[in-house]
């Protein structure tokens, strides 16, 4: 379970970009995160993958208050979170295989296990024939699948995706959402940041809506507005 209690975030001495944010993500839940540009989506995502520390409030992740964790423990905590970035952020000096293998190397998995897991996953995302190619030589869609494979290879408990369908046409976008649904059914908690209203309407999941740093939670279908518990 992930719980944000009275979270505030400001950069330097600037105004708060997130104000008194409260929500809970139950294990195996699926949420969309939406809001206009500059509403604080990226900041909220950064807090979720522990890339930033809140200026106030408390974050509890998988039963731990993150304030009480050492740097070493925080690193272990981050290994439980998979992130798919909008710009993929693949390392271009590594092959597709090595990019996907990266989280396993960070968690000191054996070379044998890395070889079998990565090959299997790349076959699953239909990139088995491209595993030794440099990501730069692949199409945008293929790069995105590598980014997704990298995010899920270590079986994260929480998967965050930032505008995953932003650069894709509708068909591939829906296919990708199908993949996320599949991962969610396997037990992964999902948070998908998106602007795509069609996608949000198509898939009935709760929405975390940010407006000027203030978070509201919208239920699917009947869109009940509520502040606080999800």
């Amino acid at each position: 379970m992930i719980k944000f209690s009275h979270i505030g975030l400001r950069y330097g001495i600037g105004p708060e970009v997130l104000s008194d944010v409260n929500f809970t993500l139950e294990p195996g839940s699926f949420h969309f995160l939406s809001g206009p540009s500059g509403s604080g989506k990226t900041s909220l995502m950064s807090l979720l993958y522990l890339g930033l520390k809140p200026t106030r409030g408390e974050i509890s992740m998988f039963g731990h208050d993150i304030k009480s964790l050492s740097r070493e423990q925080l690193a272990y905590m981050r290994q439980k979170v998979g992130v798919v970035f909008q710009d993929f952020r693949l390392l271009n000096n590594l092959t597709a295989f090595e990019n996907v293998a990266l989280p396993l190397r960070l968690s000191n998995k054996s070379e044998k296990q890395i070889r079998s897991d990565v090959s299997e996953l790349l076959e699953w995302v239909e990139l088995g024939d491209y595993m030794h190619r440099n990501p730069m030589t692949l199409s945008g869609g293929q790069q995105q699948r590598i980014a997704i494979a990298r995010a899920v290879i270590s079986k994260p408990r929480l998967l965050l995706a930032d505008e995953p369908t932003g650069n894709l046409d509708d068909t591939i976008g829906y296919k990708l959402m199908g993949l996320f649904e599949q991962l969610n059914r396997m037990g992964t908690t999902m948070v998908i940041a998106t602007h795509n209203q069609q996608i949000m309407d198509q898939f009935y999941h709760k929405k975390l809506v940010l407006n000027d740093g203030i978070l509201t939670v919208e239920e699917p279908r009947n869109m009940v507005h509520a502040q606080g518990e999800v």
Binding site: V83, R89, L91, L102, P103, R105
Partner: protein, 305 residues
């Protein structure tokens, strides 16, 4: 895959060696090591030569009894002989003086030969008397006392202990040493800054990649390992190439300019003793690189949440 990636372990994943700067870093480390090795060799050579000079000159003294009196009149051989015997007797009766020897006329002729010629005519001239002896103290009052006692026996005799100019020479050597140490210190500090700024620059260039692996759960020590692999794969060969470069340069200089086989000129030889002493310099550079690199990375990493 580049050669760098081929030879580095699999855990090296950040392309720190790519983009400009690595070749320059390699070259600077190599040249700084070469400079430090050359300065080190000069210092060692100078010390060795000073030791040789000291062992040859220290505690050695000589008395010269000129062949002419204060009015320019030549002493008769009897007069000279008498003064010499008295001085020798005095020296032999003092505890602090030993091994008293009167230089033969032939030996003195040989010494002044370069100025007056080496023919037999020199032997016909009135040559001064030279008494060499070993003096076991450098106490100034004793030397003053001895000088005045010798003057009473041979008024124009001059005592030369070599101590004065040896002291001045040692002072000069100490000065050169000090300058050498200053250059070494400045070079080491400059090397320290080069290593530190290279690491900082690499961290800034690869900020995106670093923050990516940090987000993915890389421990600080994993990121540190990236930099240590990068630094050691550049510093170790650069430092040892610098050592080789310095030896080549010293051998050339030694062969061209310092090949006189004498104890009085510093000799830059690449022998076992030198090698062991000078091997410490690239080792120190490598150690510095690892230590400063680690410190810089850990400090910079602390800025990440």
């Amino acid at each position: 895959m580049s050669l760098f990636q081929r030879i580095t372990p699999k855990s090296y994943i950040l392309p720190l060696h790519k983009r400009s700067g690595s070749v320059q870093f390699f070259t600077i480390i190599m040249l700084m090591t070469a400079m430090l090795v050359i300065i080190g060799a000069v210092q060692i050579s100078l010390m060795n030569t000073v030791q040789k000079w000291k062992s040859l000159i220290e505690h050695q003294a000589s008395i010269e009894i000129p062949s002419l009196d204060e009015n320019g009149r030549a002493y008769s051989s009897d007069e000279l002989n008498m003064m010499t015997q008295r001085v020798v007797a005095l020296l032999e009766n003092i505890d602090y003086t030993r091994d008293v020897q009167i230089e033969s006329t032939e030996q003195i002729a040989k010494l002044i030969g370069p100025w007056l010629g080496n023919d037999n005519k020199v032997l016909d001239m009135n040559l001064p008397v030279l008494i060499n002896f070993n003096i076991q103290t450098d106490d100034k009052s004793f030397i003053d006392q001895l000088t005045s006692r010798i003057k009473k026996l041979a008024p124009r005799a001059r005592l030369q202990t070599h101590q004065k100019w040896l002291d001045k020479f040692l002072q000069l050597v100490r000065g050169i040493h000090g300058i050498g140490l200053l250059i070494v210190s400045v070079t080491l500090v400059a090397t320290l800054f080069v290593i530190s700024s290279t690491v900082r620059a690499r961290m800034a260039i690869y900020k995106k990649e670093l923050s990516l692996i940090h987000i993915m759960g890389a421990h600080d020590r994993f990121i540190l390992r990236q930099f240590l692999i990068y630094l050691s794969y550049l510093t170790v060969p650069a430092a040892f190439l610098g050592l080789i470069l310095a030896f080549v340069m010293m051998s050339i200089i030694s062969a061209l300019f310092l090949n006189a086989d004498t104890a009085f000129i510093p000799h830059f030889g690449v022998n076992g003793g030198y090698l062991i002493k000078l091997l410490f310099i690239p080792l120190v550079i490598c150690f510095m690189s690892i230590a400063i690199g680690s410190y810089t990375v850990i400090n910079e990493m602390k800025k990440m949440p």
